[in-house]
Symmetry: none
Subunit: 204 residues, 4 copies
DNA sequence: TATGAATGAGTTTTCATTCAT
DNA sequence: CATGAATGAAAACTCATTCAT
């Protein structure tokens, strides 16, 4: 089921393309888009500066490609092969574990996605992806609310924004040195996230 | 009991200083530090570009001043005159209301503070302020945990990062067009925040 | 023989004028004309920057005034009350002593005069002064040559340039740390200068 | 026995480097360091302004490179292949001729070296070169003194500073229009220099 | 008249992009 | 195609000069 074997040249080319995206992701994540010059990206990717322009029209096209790849990777990390038939709490726990694994395994992509000035350079395609990728989460939240596991009055969009923000906040706190995120901390955050949505048991 | 009236010149000077900080806060919030050139800041502040350098040694000193003023304002908005003797839930609600008011009344300061990766340019004084200003929140969380209102196992640092991140996530979702933050949404987010920490009632 | 007493205001004014010239001489000597900003001159002179422009049309007028005062001072130091009737060697020694005293008592003026980029900003009046002030030296050299004390073939202009340059070279070497100019060194230089011109005794 | 021919590109690069140094030497010599802006240097070197910063970190690095090249060139012009075994007077005459040839063939380098107050921008390496290059002259003077050709009491450092200054003074006088330096003048200056050091014949 | 804050043109320096090799 | 030196427009910053007070 493999795709046709690529020629040496093509493989090489794909390789360079990936190296450029890797380098750009890392540097944009660290210094921001405006704060990153193109030549350092080239250097980190071990290509010439001019080569970047054979793959991407300009710096803005590059950052959009970086964004899309990162967002896609996030979507895959969260949902690929996810068993939606599980009981709510195990499903939620797996979701959280996947989120955390993504943040650890692709820290640059995660961090880049959380940069805040995206709106200045994202094109329509990227913006659309932004809206699409996390859509399954909305479905999950909606279902759990219907099932009576989550608060009936919980607004789905608020819930998603809050939980996502909460996770990001924890990871950002670590980067800023306010916190060390070990398994205990991740679990604590996960439990907070769950409780924030879960239906409160009425005392008898 | 007012302080002595300032001379025209002094008032003017303070004025310019403030106008520069205002302009810089707004533009840094919108475009990021590296993405903002000095002349647009000057133009927005209605001063010449060179004037900025009479008040601030360089662009980095300016962004640090912006940061400090914003952080101070946040601290004041959250804690000034806050009655810590209230019952836990009303106290928490007031805290949340103050947070929201700050985000609404000083949107640029809020946005600058929370939507930027500051670590590249903050100096030691600013970093110290960063650590200091929200310290009272930690105290609050700690007390509520001691009182048995919050989960006994709740790690204070994780809780703060998560709730803060959740709030930021909600405001960011609004800016990104994913959400409209009206009173209902704010209340929903507040309730999520509370539940995320609150001790779960054991079923009998 | 004093000039009419000046009013307080006039004295004050003359004072400021002198302070500005002093400050400018010192800073121009140290940093060069182009390397010296006007505000530091004002600060050193304890006047406001704008005040300088009440006394001098612009920076160029200021540097010309500095030049003229320094050159005049040099002329006076060298020739005022000089007894031209002395025997050649004592006359030469006194001349050298006066030159050295000027370099020591007005080091900034001396150093400023030896800066090399004067031609960029000196106006015609200053240039004329340049040519005039040292004219008496030419006369001295000429006479000594006529008297057979100096070499008969000695070109007056070369002799003046060489000796002046030699003295400057010694003082500059001190500034550059290559040399300490004490009395012994001054005397050695003086003797070199004398010998460089003096008629060589034929061996019998 | 030639070195391997350089590729077009390499030659071109070395060329640009040299052109920039040439242009900078000429302009710094004429207007001083602070008085020279970078774009005129670029224009004279027929490169873009930005190109200068590919070769030199900043303007200060450029002026240091200019200084070193000029000082090296002076050292070579004075000492390369100089036959130290000659009789004192012919050796001195050759030294003087070399000095004059340098001033004529590389007027900008000579002028830059001697007509600037370098101490504001020279780095340690340049300062070291400054002290090193003329060291052989000191040796020469010392030997001639030992041999009894020069005055026994002649202080070497004063002698060097005086003679060097004298030469510079003569060349400066020419540039200032006080003098025309033809062979006769050069010879006259050379003889002055010699006499300034030479042991005086006692009358019998 | 003196002040010194403000100005904005000019300076040094950076960097996205091109193009000869 | 890939390279990376070169470009020049734009950024950060300086400073001679002005003018409201």
């Amino acid at each position: 089921m493999k795709s046709a074997p690529k020629s040496r040249t093509e493989a090489n080319k794909a390789d360079k393309h990936a190296r450029i995206l890797d380098a750009a992701t890392a540097l944009f994540a660290e210094r921001g888009y405006a704060g990153t010059a193109v030549p350092p990206v080239a250097e980190r990717a071990r290509v010439a500066a001019g080569t970047i322009y054979r793959f991407f029209d300009n710096k803005e096209a590059l950052v959009n490609a970086v964004f899309r790849r990162a967002k896609q990777a996030l979507g895959e990390a969260l949902f690929e092969g996810l068993d939606l038939e599980q009981a709510p709490r195990p499903l939620f726990d797996e979701f959280w574990a996947r989120l955390y694994r993504f943040a650890r395994e692709q820290p640059e992509a995660f961090r880049f996605l959380e940069l805040q000035d995206h709106h200045r350079y994202l094109d329509e395609t990227s913006r659309h992806l932004e809206r699409t990728v996390l859509a399954p989460v909305a479905v999950m939240v909606l279902q759990l609310r219907e099932l009576g596991v989550f608060e009936p009055a919980l607004p789905v969009d608020v819930a998603m924004a809050f939980i996502w923000g909460g996770f990001v906040g924890v990871m950002k706190a670590e980067r800023d040195g306010h916190l060390e995120v070990d398994q205990r901390a991740v679990d604590a955050a996960r439990d907070m996230a769950w409780r924030s949505c879960a239906r409160v048991q009425e005392s008898p």
